[in-house]
């Protein structure tokens, strides 16, 4: 392994190696300031060196990849329980640093490291292989993302797909505004993959939003109240029906005077794994009626969710009727999609208006004709 150059770095490397040796051989030693207690001792040992800012792996042509790991951030990441060796099982402490496979470029190294993700995320990896991102990598693009390009390295935390995508696709909103009505709203309530993974199945996720704090409601750590509450309300276990959803909302909002926690809907993929199979933009869904018509596929599956303590949603199934029921005006005032959530009651009223509009003149005219005829006799 070729670490950062000259003398100071070389000294640092030697000291780090010594510290690593001490840590591995002497369990219980406190090694680095940026090594949170939440991490296992073995991980803290790794951080003895990797917590140092500036630690980097260099390649030819002056390229480098940072080897610095923020211990606190790693401890908060979804992968902290796996520990360093969970992903870096190829590291042999007998030869580290310095041993292992060598790479000509940072890109080559990055692509190879995706293999670590594959160990657990084989399904997502397979989806990615068929994606436009993988195709661009294959074509030699230096920008197309590998796993870490979207998810980061050691600080992987749940975040929305939109936040992830616009990191690179910063001009996406401006581009969509060229042709998509209400583009900003679409970007807010439709997951990028819902259109850009056209073969994936979609659904409506109704998530609790706190109107007082103007943030998504996040369940307190260890509470697990939403799952229990939704399960109790949906006693028959067939998904929340419109009346049950209204009941759930009442229980989530016991204080009628306070600003309510409401449900905001989003079109998301039924399986996040399929979000990795992003297609070329030419094949993305552009037909509005794929959502904006009665019976559209995304509106056939509905979940109600609350953001869990770790940022991941805690979901409970709901019946699709919650979207177009007359009760939805009160239960889901903040979610409406033309066509997709079309109310049957309003359809009937429209039909009645047509019948009245056509029927009244015909009826009135007929009566006038009958009376005139009668008078004539």
């Amino acid at each position: 392994m070729a670490c950062e150059a000259p003398a100071v770095d070389e000294i640092r490397r030697i000291l780090s190696t010594a510290a690593l040796a001490l840590a591995v051989g002497w369990s219980g030693g406190t090694i680095a300031a940026d090594a949170p207690a939440a991490l296992a001792e073995a991980d803290q040992a790794c951080l003895a060196c990797h917590a140092q800012e500036g630690l980097a792996k260099t390649f030819g042509k002056g390229e480098s990849v940072s080897l610095h790991v923020q211990g606190e951030a790693f401890a908060r990441s979804v992968h902290s329980a796996l520990g360093c060796s969970g992903c870096h099982s190829e590291v042999d402490l007998k030869t580290h640093p310095g041993g292992g496979k060598t790479f000509a470029t940072a890109r080559e190294f990055s692509i190879a490291q995706a293999g670590a993700c594959r160990q657990c995320h084989e399904d997502a990896f397979e989806q990615h292989k068929a994606s436009v991102h993988a195709a661009r990598i294959e074509q030699g693009s230096a920008l197309a993302p590998t796993c870490t390009g979207c998810h980061g390295f050691h600080t992987v935390t749940p975040k929305t797909a939109y936040e992830t995508c616009v990191t690179c696709h910063a001009a996406a909103l401006a581009a969509h505004r060229q042709w998509l009505p209400n583009a900003a709203l679409h970007h807010e309530v439709v997951s990028c993959a819902a259109c850009h993974a056209p073969k994936a199945l979609r659904m409506v996720d109704l998530r609790f939003f706190d109107r007082a704090t103007k943030r998504w409601v996040v369940e307190a750590a260890g509470a697990q109240t939403f799952g229990k509450l939704a399960g109790a309300v949906d006693a028959d276990g067939n998904g929340l029906d419109p009346a049950e959803l209204a009941s759930l909302l009442k229980q989530v909002n016991p204080d009628a005077a306070a600003l309510p926690k409401t449900l905001r809907g989003r079109i998301e993929l039924r399986s996040n794994v399929e979000a990795h199979g992003l297609a070329a933009k030419e094949t993305a869904i552009k037909a509005c009626d794929s959502c904006h018509q009665a019976g559209a596929e995304p509106f056939q599956n509905v979940t109600v969710s609350m953001t869990g303590p770790d940022g991941r949603p805690v979901r409970h199934a709901a019946q699709k009727q919650v979207l177009d029921s007359p009760l939805a005006v009160a239960s889901l005032p903040e979610f409406y999609a033309i066509g997709g959530t079309r109310s049957r009651l309003l359809d009937l009223l429209f039909l009645a208006a047509l019948v009245a509009g056509v029927g009244f003149p015909i009826g009135h005219l007929t009566l006038r004709w009958i009376f005139r005829k009668g008078k004539g006799r």
Binding site: W179, P181, C288, D289, G295, S343, G357
Partner: protein, 212 residues
Amino acid sequence: MRIYVHPLPVRIWHWTNALGFVALILTGVQIRYVDLIGLLSFRDAVHLHNAIGFVLIANFFLWLLFYLFTDKIRVYHPELDPEKHFRASFRQLRYYGYGIFKGDPNPHHLSVYEKFNALQSMTYQIIMLLLVPLQFVTGVLLWDLKRFSGMVDFFGGVRVVDTVHVLLFIFFTAFVFLHPYLASLGHTTFGHFRAMLTGYEEVEEAPGPQKD
């Protein structure tokens, strides 16, 4: 004799509004029932609907400013007497629902400042000062929900705004059928239609104050 009851700005407003409302209803039906009707793509229908909506908003102000800045506003309130107005409305309603079949004369006598019967005057005020502005406001909010998110929240959320917009669309759909029919119940079938084109109504007697 002929009396001039529909000044040019009113006629321009009326026919623009008439054509616009029919177009808004048709594009609205296309937007709402894209699974049943395929005359336009959803996107084209939305763009057309929005554009026509803005034309009609401008047209509404033509109507409003004309009546605010001329004495013609009297056509809506010839006499500020609510009791008399409601009595006259009921009499007009009874005529349409009963008297017309017996051959009774129309209780309303048209003049320059009494071009509407009491029922029309009341209905048009509700429509023009409440329902049409509400339809425009809800339409503009739905046109750009992000830009007007504060107002959308104020009204209770996007579904509330949309439900009001659709309920009014349903009302106006019935209206565009009923209005021409009622307009055909003048002294001749096409008399009122001609008047809305030329500005002149044919009346059978000299205009005078309406008798109770």
